[in-house]
């Protein structure tokens, strides 16, 4: 059953990766570049902007994943214990899942720009005197607009991943814990957290990988410089100079490399923790 789907995925993504790798190694016969070289990679890695871009990208992905994870865990607990019967809450909660990132990014521009809706309302209400005193929330140094977009968009996703597990196996264990006189913190730390951890970790990893490689949100909400790695890769790839293309692809492969490394490291850490018998 899985084979056809797997074949398609392998052919498309694997083929794309191989072609990309060939081009990033300078193999573009159509424009007369037909020998293999690592210059494009060394150019990318040696560019003084690369470290800035990499750090910015790690900061944005890391922060948005961490913040979304904490809020999602709290939300999942609330949804299970407080609002389990309330269908409306569940419905409202799922809305962000259906909206594309791009739409949210544009909405954030309209809401949070210095002349956006929020700023205009604040002026009407007399909270600030002019749009100039409205704090910079988009195209700003700290990437607040990008972080808000990602957090808002990813919370329902992570929450639903956790909810599924909590509903399935969390409740009976908590009852057992209660009969053994565990207090609420102990129940959370030793029952809930270990139960949800595998799904929470997997969801976080997906979110991290996505935010690390996604282009549209930082393109719209980021600063012109320094820019996140995906924007950097796009800029190189779409350069008028065809010779800059391999560098764009090389940057794209660096992104893929970091994501794969993140998956490998988190897998290794989880395995090691399990082996040492840490309850996680």
């Amino acid at each position: 059953m899985v084979t056809p789907a797997l074949a398609v995925v392998t052919a498309l993504f694997g083929g794309g990766l191989v072609l990309g790798l060939a081009q990033s190694l300078g193999f573009v016969p159509a424009v007369g570049m037909d020998s293999l070289t690592v210059t494009h990679f060394t150019n990318v890695l040696g560019d003084p902007d690369f470290i800035d871009s990499l750090l910015l990208t790690l900061y944005i992905s890391g922060t948005s994943t961490a913040v979304a994870a904490v809020i999602s865990t709290a939300m999942a607990l609330i949804l299970v214990f407080v609002a389990q019967k309330n269908r409306l809450v569940h419905f409202v909660f799922q809305i962000p899942l259906t909206v594309p990132h791009l739409v949210i990014a544009v909405a954030v521009v309209f809401m949070l720009a210095p002349t956006g809706l929020v700023s205009r309302m604040a002026i009407k209400l007399g909270i600030i005197d002019s749009s100039a005193s409205f704090p910079l929330l988009i195209n700003d140094r700290c990437g607040i607009g990008i972080l808000l977009t990602y957090v808002w968009k990813e919370i329902p996703f992570i929450t639903l991943m956790i909810l599924a597990v909590l509903r399935r196996s969390g409740m009976q264990l908590l009852d057992v814990g209660r009969t053994l006189k565990a207090n609420s913190w102990q129940r959370f730390r030793y029952i809930t957290l270990p139960t949800i951890f595998p799904s929470l970790g997997a969801a976080c990893l997906i979110v991290f990988a996505y935010t690390f490689g996604a282009f549209e949100v930082p393109f719209l909400l980021g600063q012109t410089y320094p820019m996140m790695l995906p924007v950097w890769a796009y800029k190189n790839y779409s350069d008028v100079d065809l010779l800059a293309r391999p560098e764009g692809i090389a940057a794209g492969l660096v992104i893929a490399g970091v994501v794969i490394a993140a998956i490998a490291i988190s897998q290794a850490l989880t395995q090691a923790a399990r082996r040492r018998g840490v309850v996680l």
Binding site: D49, Y225, V240, D241
Partner: protein, 411 residues
């Protein structure tokens, strides 16, 4: 008038031939057909026109009006093939050339200019020169620098003009009753009005052309850049350009720490009152903005007294096109008075004519004069008297790279 055209184009044609033969040693197809023979061969052909398909009004004009009229007039079936970026088509033809596919190519006509034309010309990817064979060519003023050279690259009959674009500044006359009229004044205005001006970050097309205006301003010269590229002279002028742009950057919107990513964003900043000017390559865009409700009806446009950069967009035929005669028939129809008039109608597209209106007879001239003009659009005379040519694409690319390094990253 006829004489000047021929006198002009004959050496150009020879030069073109010699260049192409010499540089690429390609067997040149015979272009020594008469127009009647071309028309005869064109009948019944299907012309595949590859073009950027991102402009709904252009698509409607091509698929509706143009397709219908070339069918009636020449018996040519026109098929538009919309693409995201014409450079993809250029690479496709380049690959076809390397693979030895010298005839029967799928692309019959393409909409190009600037960098893509240069790539095509330098790699011998174009059929021609063919432009001089088109009867309507007599309506084109080839002495205009922005028609003779496509971003500094001599056209030499390898492409035929279709329309033109010119930079205009957009402002709200209610907010800024007397806008600066020269680039020098604008720079001073920026210094005295901190935070009220922005330009899109190059390599955005519009941001890039703003930098070229500054480049022309600091060097005080336009014509001399059209010739061969002089590294030393360029470096000195470019450094001066970056210095001016760096010097004004603290006075820009957001202190120049970030830039709007494209002209659309810039026009929203103007509409929202965050900045006082927007820049556009399309003289009729401000009027359209008023019509669409983006701008208040007090918005107007102006061009600098020393002129603004204007360029021409062209159509060209690939060397291996299967239906060259049909493509030539279409190219000729595109510069006919009726097609140019229709295209200039703001209700249809509102693109500037590629032909010289003064060369038309009085009835046609009147029709052009009577076209409805938006309230914010300048007259054709005012625009045409203030046109500067684009510098060669080499300069364009170098300025974009230099802006990135020196102005954006402050190295």
């Amino acid at each position: 008038m006829q004489n000047t055209v021929t006198a002009h184009s004959f050496p150009m044609r020879c030069l073109g031939l010699i260049l192409v033969v010499f540089a690429f040693c390609l067997p040149l197809q015979s272009v020594a057909l008469t127009w009647d023979e071309i028309k005869q061969k064109a009948r019944g052909q299907t012309v595949n026109w590859f073009m950027w398909g991102g402009f709904p009004s252009t698509n409607a004009y091509v698929n509706g009006y143009v397709a219908r009229r070339v069918k009636e007039q020449y018996g040519v079936k026109l098929r538009q093939v919309p693409v995201k970026d014409i450079s993809e088509v250029v690479s496709k033809i380049l690959v076809e050339k390397q693979a030895g596919k010298h005839e029967g190519g799928e692309v019959d006509l393409m909409w190009i200019n600037g960098e893509n034309f240069r790539t095509c010309k330098r790699n011998g990817l174009l059929y021609g020169p063919f432009a001089d064979l088109l009867p309507n060519q007599k309506l084109v003023d080839w002495s205009r620098p922005s028609v003779r050279n496509d971003f500094g690259e001599p056209v030499e009959g390898l492409e035929s003009p279709w329309g033109s674009a010119q930079v205009v500044m957009i402002y709200d006359s209610k907010r800024t009753p007397s806008p600066p009229r020269t680039m020098g004044d604008l720079l001073n205005w920026i210094r005295h009005n901190p935070g009220r001006f922005a330009y899109p970050a190059p390599p955005d097309f519009t941001g890039s052309v703003f930098v070229r205006h500054v480049f022309y301003h600091v060097t005080g010269d336009v014509e001399s850049w059209q010739g061969t590229f002089d590294e030393k002279r360029f470096e000195a002028a470019a450094t001066k350009t970056y210095d001016v742009l760096k010097e004004i950057s603290p006075y820009l919107w957001r202190q120049g720490k970030t830039y709007p990513e494209n002209p659309i964003r810039l026009s929203h900043l103007l509409a929202d009152g965050e900045v006082d000017f927007a820049i556009s390559y399309h003289p009729a865009e401000a009027s359209k903005g008023i019509h669409d409700g983006l701008y208040p009806d007090t918005v107007r446009t102006f061009v600098f007294e020393e002129g603004t950069i204007s360029n021409t967009h062209f159509v060209a035929i690939p060397f291996n096109a299967a239906h060259k005669e049909g493509a030539m028939a279409v190219a000729d129809f595109l510069i006919s008075p009726e097609a140019q008039l229709k295209k200039a109608d703001p209700e249809v597209w509102g693109d500037l004519p590629a032909i010289d209106i003064q060369r038309l007879d009085a009835t046609w001239q009147k029709k052009f004069d009577q076209l409805p003009r938006g309230i914010a659009t300048l007259s054709n005379e005012e625009l045409q008297h203030h046109q500067l040519p684009e510098p060669p694409s080499e300069i364009l690319i170098r300025l974009e790279q230099g802006w990135d390094r020196h102005v954006l990253k402050k190295r």
